[in-house]
């Protein structure tokens, strides 16, 4: 992947776990990105070039300044760097908050390669001004209109970070049923994953 001018896209990888950090960088390099490893939010702030076209893979759980704090700080600075959130299990509510604060996507670990590449491609498109972050509101409402009442309920719970088990308990149905509803919702909304759904509804 590369920019319009042909130079590779810079991806800052911010994660406190060395193995994850190094492996992600290796993967990105293999795919032609210029990866810059940062062991902490503080390190990112010290090396980051505000003028460069770059995106970021951000771990939310870090000692010192957390991922969310870093994001808030960047928002305060007016930095436009697209952020792809990389989270562990169970951090979905935090990821939802990150999405609301402007992250373009989130990926759960272990990171599926194809999903990672798709997200980075999206970041690139955004940086090149070829797409806007938002799906048009009218399109969203057309899609929402296709949902059944139950599907809408599932959607509303999904976007506040509830996991299948919680949704099943909340609605009094089996987890399997929730999975089916989820699939239909994704399909009707034209979403690849929950990140898309959150983006559309925020």
């Amino acid at each position: 992947m590369s920019n319009v001018d042909g130079s590779p896209l810079t991806v800052y990888v911010v994660d406190d776990d060395t193995a994850v950090l190094k492996s992600l960088c290796a993967l990105l390099l293999a795919h032609g990105y210029q990866a810059i490893a940062c062991q902490s939010a503080e390190e990112f702030l010290s090396v980051h070039d505000a003028d460069a076209k770059a995106c970021m893979l951000l771990d939310l759980r870090m000692p010192g300044m957390s991922g969310l704090e870093l994001q808030a700080h960047l928002n305060d600075l007016g930095a436009k760097i697209p952020i792809i959130v990389v989270t562990g299990h169970g951090d979905v509510p935090v990821a939802v908050r990150a999405m609301k604060a402007g992250a373009i996507d989130f990926i759960e670990k272990p990171t599926p390669e194809d999903q990672l590449l798709t997200s980075l491609a999206m970041a690139n498109e955004i940086l090149n001004g070829r797409i806007t972050r938002a799906v048009p509101a009218e399109l969203v409402s057309v899609r929402l209109g296709k949902l059944t009442e139950r599907e809408r309920e599932v959607l509303d719970l999904l976007v506040i970070g509830k996991i299948n088990k919680e949704i099943a308990e909340h609605l009094g149905v089996s987890q399997r049923t929730v999975e089916i509803h989820r699939a239909r919702v994704r399909e009707k909304m034209g979403a690849r994953g929950i990140a898309d759904l959150i983006r559309m509804l925020s």
């Binding site: 010192g64 299990h89 670990k109 272990p110 390669e113």
Partner: protein, 761 residues
């Protein structure tokens, strides 16, 4: 003087004992008690001793009566004995004293003076005492009655028999001092029985005299009073230089207002005997004659003695009545007490006995207030009732009024109850019993309209005059209940005493129960917290394991993917089998991640049960729990909680858990330190509230500060290092933050919780 300003009770102030005159049916001398010099003499001594006052005043009594009589007088008792009757003295004839008739003298010591009253002794002194029939009657009839009215009737008849008056009446005075004729014996056609006499008929000074001087005889209302002269030849009334106190005089002249009063009734002679119980003027025996009537002194004494007897009997009957009512009250109180001790609550026990309680004081309604509950039975008073005045006037927790209107905020005659008894059932006045009495619509038959009529005398001075008419004058009274008597009060006090004691017991029980409930609730919370603590710790372990395993799994997948991509990039030939193996490696790491996720979801329970909570109370609860398990005696705890904290949306159990963990860490960090102070504070900031837990422990190394909120990084030697990580999870689930600061003399951990509009946790 303005007419309207004349006080009809003005004669209450008249000094009737300083009237300075006696009635003419006897005479009076007053001698100095030391040398018997005659200091005062009635103007009529000539009639009795053939010596004028001029001749007697300043002389020694011995010159009149002879030395032997004076010696006898000196030995004679000069004060009343028991019963309260003066012993008469009979001066004997001698060489210088030769009266035409035998004289009876009543001598009485008064200060430095001896007052000597002389009357003709007309009858053989013992005659009346020896009348067998009379004695029989007194013994057989007077002693028998056990009701007041019956005793009064018998007494009236016996006294009329002994004295021969046309009419003998027994009055009883009510609490407002007005009198009612409760018995009458008369030869006349008209009857005064059942009539009421206004209190003003007997002014206060007269009442005092009735108590001090039990017997009063006026043989001739219109007899001209005889002035008493002092040694200077002048009068001795209230306005003179030498007023003479005639309080104890039998012969004392009649006050003009009384003469007019009796004349208005057509009475020419009268006699009265005071009926005294418990040192109070209970009533009067009033004897009227419609012509003059002189009663011999020994009959008078007999009547006087009879009066004392009747008084004693009255007192006994009254005491019996009181005892009876008291016993009834005790019985009722006992009945309620038994019920209550048997486990019935006071309310039920009392309401079951409400009829007897009302009956004993003749009440028709009841209002019981115990705690928040109010019960009403029968006739009740207005609502709201101003109880302040009753409370202020309560004696032994009991107060009554027969005039409920006084306690009302608005006049409303339609209220069915007119009187109320207030029984205080708790120290704080919160619990009480009210017993209501109905309106006492009753007609009082007055003997004449009960107003005195004022008249102007010649000098233009206002003088009072009693009413001229005793024609029946009826008055209907409304707006009040039957008055509460002393007997009623006693019964109320007895019942109140029992109820008060039972209520105190009930209240103690209730307080104990409330305390037990509070303790049980506290224990339940503690258990919930410990439970939560355990399950949180487990969930935190699960999360931590999931996280820790996930990282290398994630790295493995990345590396394999990177590896494959690098191989593609280098265009090296990769066998299909090797490519599949790499795919398998990625798929397996992904499966392992899934397994970990499932394990974590199975154990973890991340739900918040949030509410708007008082954070200070939660901080205290968490601290209490920590202190509970702390055995360190040296620990000093300081609470700096901001008073006016807004409520914050949070899960109280989980937040208490955070406090508990932080406080535990702090205490552990202070082990072995000389000063062990734990400081907890809450502070409202912009949009959030901060809670700080601070210790005076070993402080915080920089490297620990970086990782202290990560799982498995225990800074303390015990435990898995889950505590702080758990704290972070909980705080973050509340969308709050947690951080630590190393201080020169310890560590401070602070977390903040945001104020939120909604509950979308």
């Amino acid at each position: 003087m303005n007419k309207s300003s004349v006080d009809l009770t003005a004669c209450d102030n008249e000094p009737i004992h300083l009237i300075g005159a006696i009635q003419p049916h006897g005479t009076l001398l007053v001698v100095n008690k030391d040398d018997f010099t005659i200091e005062f003499a009635a103007a009529n001594t000539m009639e009795h001793f053939s010596r004028s006052p001029d001749e007697l005043l300043g002389q020694n009594l011995a010159e009149l009566l002879g030395a032997s009589n004076c010696e006898e007088l000196a030995r004679h008792p000069l004060s009343p004995g028991t019963p309260d009757i003066l012993q008469p003295w009979f001066p004997k004839s001698n060489e210088c004293f030769q009266p035409q008739h035998r004289l009876e003298c009543l001598p009485r010591l008064q200060g430095d003076l001896i007052i000597l009253e002389f009357m003709w002794d007309e009858e053989a002194s013992t005659t009346v005492w020896e009348q067998e029939e009379l004695r029989q009657r007194i013994i057989s009839e007077l002693i028998r009655p056990d009701a007041l009215e019956q005793l009064a009737q018998v007494s009236a008849e016996i006294i009329r028999n002994v004295t021969g008056f046309d009419r003998v009446m027994i009055y009883r005075f009510a609490e407002d001092k007005h009198g009612e004729v409760i018995a009458e014996s008369t030869v006349r056609d008209d009857s005064f029985f059942g009539l009421h006499y206004p209190a003003s008929d007997i002014p206060d000074p007269a009442r005092r005299h009735f108590v001090l001087n039990v017997m009063r005889s006026i043989p001739d209302i219109n007899a001209k009073p005889v002035p008493i002269l002092a040694r200077d030849g002048k009068g001795t009334d209230a306005l003179s230089d030498n007023p003479l106190d005639l309080t104890y005089s039998k012969l004392r002249a009649v006050a003009p207002v009384h003469i007019e009063y009796l004349n208005n009734m057509g009475v020419e002679a009268s006699m009265s005997i005071s009926l005294i119980t418990n040192d109070q003027l209970w009533g009067l025996v009033a004897c009227h004659h419609y012509s003059t009537r002189l009663i011999s002194s020994n009959r008078l004494r007999f009547a006087e003695l009879l009066g004392s007897t009747i008084s004693a009997l009255l007192q006994s009957i009254e005491n019996t009545d009181q005892l009876r009512q008291s016993i009834d009250a005790e019985k009722i109180a006992f009945g309620i007490e038994q019920k209550a001790r048997g486990g019935t609550n006071l309310r039920t026990a009392l309401l079951e006995k409400s009829d007897s309680v009302m009956q004993i004081i003749d009440a028709q309604g009841l209002l019981l207030k115990l705690g928040d509950k109010t019960d009403q039975i029968g006739l009740v008073g207005p609502d709201p009732l101003e109880l302040g005045m009753l409370r202020d006037n309560a004696a032994d927790g009991v107060a009554t009024t027969s005039h409920l209107l006084h306690l009302m905020t608005h006049d409303d005659l339609e209220v069915p109850a007119a009187g109320v008894a207030y029984l205080e059932l708790s120290e704080d006045g919160e619990d009480y019993l009210l017993l209501f009495r109905e309106h006492y619509v009753h007609t009082i038959k007055w003997a004449g309209k009960p107003d005195k009529i004022e008249q102007h005398d010649d000098g233009g001075q206002v003088r009072l005059s009693p009413r001229g008419s005793f024609a029946l004058w009826s008055e209907e009274r409304k707006g009040t209940s039957k008055p509460f008597s002393e007997l009623d009060h006693e019964a109320l006090r007895i019942i109140r005493r029992a109820l008060f004691a039972l209520n105190s017991l009930d209240r103690e029980r209730a307080a104990l129960k409330a305390q037990r409930q509070a303790e049980a609730e506290e224990a339940r919370l503690r258990h919930a917290l410990l439970d939560a603590s355990r399950s949180h710790a487990m969930s935190e372990v699960a999360k931590a394991i999931a996280h820790e395993l996930n990282q290398p799994l994630s790295a493995v997948a990345n590396y394999v993917n990177a590896c494959r991509q690098e191989l593609r990039n280098s265009e090296a030939s990769v066998s299909e089998q090797a490519s599949e193996l790499m795919d398998d490696a990625v798929a397996e790491s992904s499966r392992a991640g899934d397994l970990v996720r499932r394990l974590r979801d199975f154990i973890a329970r991340g739900d918040l049960i949030a509410d708007n909570i008082d954070l200070n109370a939660t901080v205290k609860r968490g601290l209490d729990l920590c202190i509970l398990t702390n055995e360190d005696q040296d620990l000093e705890v300081v609470l700096n909680l901001q008073n006016d904290l807004r409520k914050v949306w949070a899960d109280p159990v989980q937040v208490a858990q955070v406090i508990l963990n932080l406080a535990k860490n702090s205490i552990a960090a202070m082990q072995g330190m000389p000063d062990k102070t734990l400081i907890l504070s809450t502070t409202a900031r912009d949009g959030e509230v901060e809670v700080s837990v601070r210790d005076t422990g070993h402080g915080l190394p920089e490297d620990v500060k970086e990782t202290m909120f990560e799982p498995f990084h225990s800074s303390t030697t015990s435990g898995m290092g889950i505590g702080l990580s758990l704290c972070r999870s909980i705080v973050e689930a509340h969308e709050g933050r947690i951080w630590a600061r190393g201080l020169e003399d310890g560590t401070e951990v602070i977390f903040s919780l945001p104020y939120r509009e909604t509950n979308d946790v």
